[in-house]
Chain length 287, copies 2
């Protein structure tokens, strides 16, 4: 099978590593608009050949792993170019606008909208890690709009990776993911911002912060070029989630100001249920 | 040396483990107002004897590791009871009100206000981990008010633990720690609350959340009985930090609503500096 990857960052590069490890006969063609990342991907042996207009028609599975606004821009052209046996799959963290963008494309059945729940806070080809896709949850949207035979090609790989597959419609996906993923990134970015603004002398943060701070701001190391388009594309859900979050912060602030100890303890006890919930999350890919 | 520990939770129990490992000849007396925790501490071999009114006068170093409001309540009585060669040390995450509470005590010189920057989200004697105190940053406040010879007893242990010692006044301590520690706990608790409220069906969180969410809400597993008194005792600093955080969230929300892509990317790029800062944090105690 010939695999194509457009966008050789953490998600694309790690996919290459996992495919190479498990399907040694597969050939990987890669493209990145950054020449530096393309060269790095050859040096790291992530890809075998450069993907170009001459060989794109021979690709069996084409993975798109670029920022979600770029995905919307390039996806129609890619569906125009690929051969009739190619399945195009994206890995974006938003699904509604990406699906809407190709809903009337003549080759819509050659596209699969996918969101593998995996990642780290690092980016670029050198952030690739093997095993990133192994055993994770993977959300597929609108599978009924994808050609069954082409879908089988993808499922062969996903099943080999022992993924837990969840089927959702794009709108529900974006709504739920805004809370369990996008909001976490916002809270982490803004926590880091607030602390950096306060501690003009960064040495204070070096000296005083512990593992709790480190864990809570880990996502603030994430790529702005990846996450800004996600926030904007999922605007309506994220703004609602953010407003709920800000309201809850204000409630706690008032309780603190009023020394309302019993009520705060009650709230935190209730929140402690997260222990049980987190116990159920498959953290194999925790970095 | 006889070590006394009042409060046999994560901090007290781990101190016992670390002392036992490095000073095999030391004898450890422990007390907890929970009979269950006291029994558990004997079972886990954290302590050798129960600390009581008969033996408290023979203690060389008495560690107080209870919630910070209890520390304020019991500290004056403890300073009344201990022998003249005893140094009393607390490990609370707030320092100003604890120092103020004993500022006029006749035995003030037998007290050392300390904040070891260590911990996990777990609590109770069975959360004790060996090595928790090793190599960490430890903040000492108002050391000039502590008797030099008694201070030496403590430093012998802290130096053996290879701690990085920082000296601060209690007011500055509380101000900076409200940002780099207390605010992280609030943001994590409230993120968990917001997501739990949205996802009435907890299975959605199980299924959809990844390691990013897990990392960001880790602190929401922390003890309400430990953290509520900290929030209240550091109210003025924490409310200021929270207001700055909420303002920054609202700013980002407006930028998202206005599709202000370039400005968001600029902000997030600036926040990415946290990578460099976090690279400098000693994460030996990351759990």
């Amino acid at each position: 099978m010939n695999i194509g990857i457009i966008g050789l960052g953490l998600m694309g590069g790690s996919f290459a590593l996992d495919v190479k490890e498990r399907f040694k006969e597969f050939v990987i063609y890669g493209f990145d608009k950054s020449d530096e990342h393309l060269k790095m991907s050859f040096d790291l042996k992530l890809i075998d050949f450069k993907l170009d207009d001459d060989n794109i028609s021979n690709i069996d599975l084409l993975l798109i792993s670029v920022p979600v606004d770029e995905t919307i821009n390039i996806l129609p052209n890619i569906l125009d170019k690929v051969g009739e046996n190619t399945i195009v799959v994206d890995v974006g963290s938003t699904k509604l606008k990406i699906c809407e963008g190709v809903s009337n494309h003549k080759n819509r059945k050659q596209f699969l909208a996918m969101h593998p729940i995996a990642g780290t806070e690092n980016s670029g080809p050198n952030a690739s890690v093997s095993g990133l896709y192994h055993g994770i949850t993977n959300i597929l949207c609108e599978v009924d709009k994808t050609d069954s035979n082409l879908l089988k090609k993808v499922m062969k790989i996903l099943n080999n990776f022992e993924m837990k597959i969840i089927y959702m419609d794009p709108s529900s996906h974006d709504e739920h993911i805004s809370y369990v993923s996008h909001l976490s990134h916002v809270t982490s970015f803004i926590l880091a911002k607030t602390v950096i603004e306060k501690e003009k002398n960064e040495k204070n943060i070096f000296d005083l912060a512990g593992s709790g701070f480190e864990s809570t701001v880990r996502l603030a190391k994430s790529s702005p070029f990846m996450w800004t388009p996600i926030f904007l594309q999922n605007k309506s859900n994220l703004v609602e989630a953010l407003e709920g979050y800000i309201n809850n912060l204000n409630d706690l602030k008032v309780k603190i100001q009023n020394d309302d100890k019993e009520s705060i303890i009650d709230d935190l006890n209730n929140i402690n249920r997260v222990k049980k919930i987190l116990g159920g999350i498959n953290n194999k890919n925790e970095k």
